[in-house]
Symmetry: C2
Subunit: 324 residues, 2 copies
């Protein structure tokens, strides 16, 4: 459920009057998405998405996100495009929230990942990385390695209520992952750039066996490109039963390397990057699991799905474990 | 939130292959609606709604509902039209649920009811009643007066946990409403026909100051036409602060009477019908309030909103209290 904030008719009419995009035809809340409120908007001119940014998004960062999306589109990446109003503004206010209208993308996100999705996914991820290279402004990754220990602390021992011993297991994993992180201490650093940082299947639309668009850039940031690959290994390559599908991973990496080769240091670091990615999603899910009120609109996701992934990556020695 | 059941890509492709409605372009869950799962579906031929019927809908009754919608459309009422597959079937199965594709209706439902909505609403309701007259099959109202005492019983005294004294207040109201109900004992009966029975603002789309369509017929049944009017008095004519807006009611009734005159018995019965309508929604909300698990996808609606309405109608003596 994604309609946290509803919009009155008058407010919507006033808002749309600022834009030269025709008259309102249809307006329906979209169920997908957990961070922001999204509406599918149709006017006499076409289809759009209206997004109200909820409290997890820092309003001051929205120009960076919208600018990235505009830049990526100019570089050939299909992603939602902010629509400017009659004054040229894209970031506006509606129902007390920062709000933007973006273009509508055709396509369907895969409910079940199949092998055929993974190679196009890898290509699209590398194209995103290549296109982002010329977007100069940087945004730090607020959920990077330095955030993990404080995030675990903020769960105040709640980990053990989810599974006995989880707190100690996560502390031990952090003690292993953080010192091994690229750039930490004397470790070699890796190529950096703009990464999506949340490229799960529900953010990738497919049409006619190809990727038709990437959406939801509101975790995007400037970080190691290979970390984005490691996030996709977590998000796309584990089966519903928790098993790692090395064929999916190999296809994804082959697709990526069609566009951008991973260098030696990136390949070497892939296991620790994948461990870190599993840790990042485990910790935010753990936090949400412990802190979501029982009457919340969104049911939190089980953090333990990511404990299985974390253990798998901790046991993986080389990028060969991912099929490359 | 309305996506109770998600649909795999393969299942969707197989399902759509049965229809001659073009190729899949877009598929997104709709947030509105609490009973069934709805997706906005776009194909190369146009826009549709895909509905999966969840457990509250009795699958054996679906042909009655779909038949009513087809009949109403033939009679000029704009409502979703079931789309037949290549074999002529409209009711099918998808993801283990009964499923149907219906046409997409333009328009926006009013988040805030304004006076200008009420006259077109009244006209649309009367047009629905007129059009339904020639649909012969009947469906009993499963939530009519005989259902109310058992529904209150099934809450097992939970009413008092919502508000002290509520159980006794509802029992007293039932003891007054049920014997006064049209057709009960020696009471005069009223004109019967097909009623929508759930015509809340989110089921009425407006466009260019007129009603562009009515949706969600899955509570429709054969009952007193004036009871549908009484439901709309409850659903449309109370302000967010709980006050009754007699101007809205008058506009709605005037709109209704442009198409179909209320007879003397209907006018006389309006207060008790409105009491019954308030009772019906109060009781189902009370039941949901008590029985909804804390982690449910849908947040139940507060039953006490309808206690205020019930008290108002119990204090109303004549249809003049509704502005007519």
């Amino acid at each position: 459920m994604a309609v946290y904030t509803d919009v009155s008719d008058e407010a919507l009419q006033d808002f749309l009057a600022d834009f030269a995009i025709g008259d309102l035809v249809s307006f329906r809340g979209i169920a997908e998405g957990v961070e922001n409120t999204n509406f599918q908007l149709r006017t006499t001119e076409g289809d759009f998405i209206l997004t109200l940014y909820e409290k997890r998004v820092n309003a001051r960062e929205l120009p960076w996100f919208l600018g990235l999306m505009q830049h990526l589109a100019r570089e050939g990446v299909t992603c939602p495009q902010p629509v400017a109003d009659r004054r040229g503004e894209t970031l506006k206010t509606l129902a007390g929230r920062p709000a933007a209208i973006t273009t509508f993308l055709p396509g369907v996100w895969p409910r079940t990942v199949r092998g055929e999705h993974c190679r196009p996914l890898g290509r699209a991820l590398a194209q995103l990385h290549a296109a982002g290279r010329s977007y100069a402004p940087e945004r730090a990754n607020a959920l990077g390695p330095t955030a993990w220990a404080p995030l675990l602390q903020s769960c105040a021992g709640g980990a053990n209520t989810v599974q006995p011993g989880l707190q100690a297991e996560l502390e031990q994993a952090l003690a292993r992952i953080v010192p091994a992180w690229p750039g930490h201490g004397g470790n070699p650093t890796l190529p950096r750039g703009q990464i999506h940082a949340d490229l799960f299947p529900d953010n990738v639309f497919f049409l006619n066996h190809g990727v038709s668009g990437l959406i939801d850039f509101y975790f995007a940031c400037t970080d190691y490109l290979a970390y984005d690959v490691a996030i996709c290994l977590n998000a796309w390559c584990f089966q519903p039963d928790g098993a790692f599908n090395v064929t999916f991973a190999r296809q994804m990496l082959l697709g990526y390397e069609e566009v951008r080769k991973l260098d030696e240091a990136e390949c070497y670091a892939m296991p620790v990057l994948a461990q870190g990615a599993a840790m990042r999603f485990l910790l935010t899910r753990l936090y949400d699991w412990i802190n979501t009120p029982a009457d919340a609109l969104v049911t939190p996701k089980n953090p333990l799905d990511y404990l299985k992934r974390l253990r798998f990556h901790l046991a993986t020695q080389t990028v060969g474990g991912y099929g490359l």
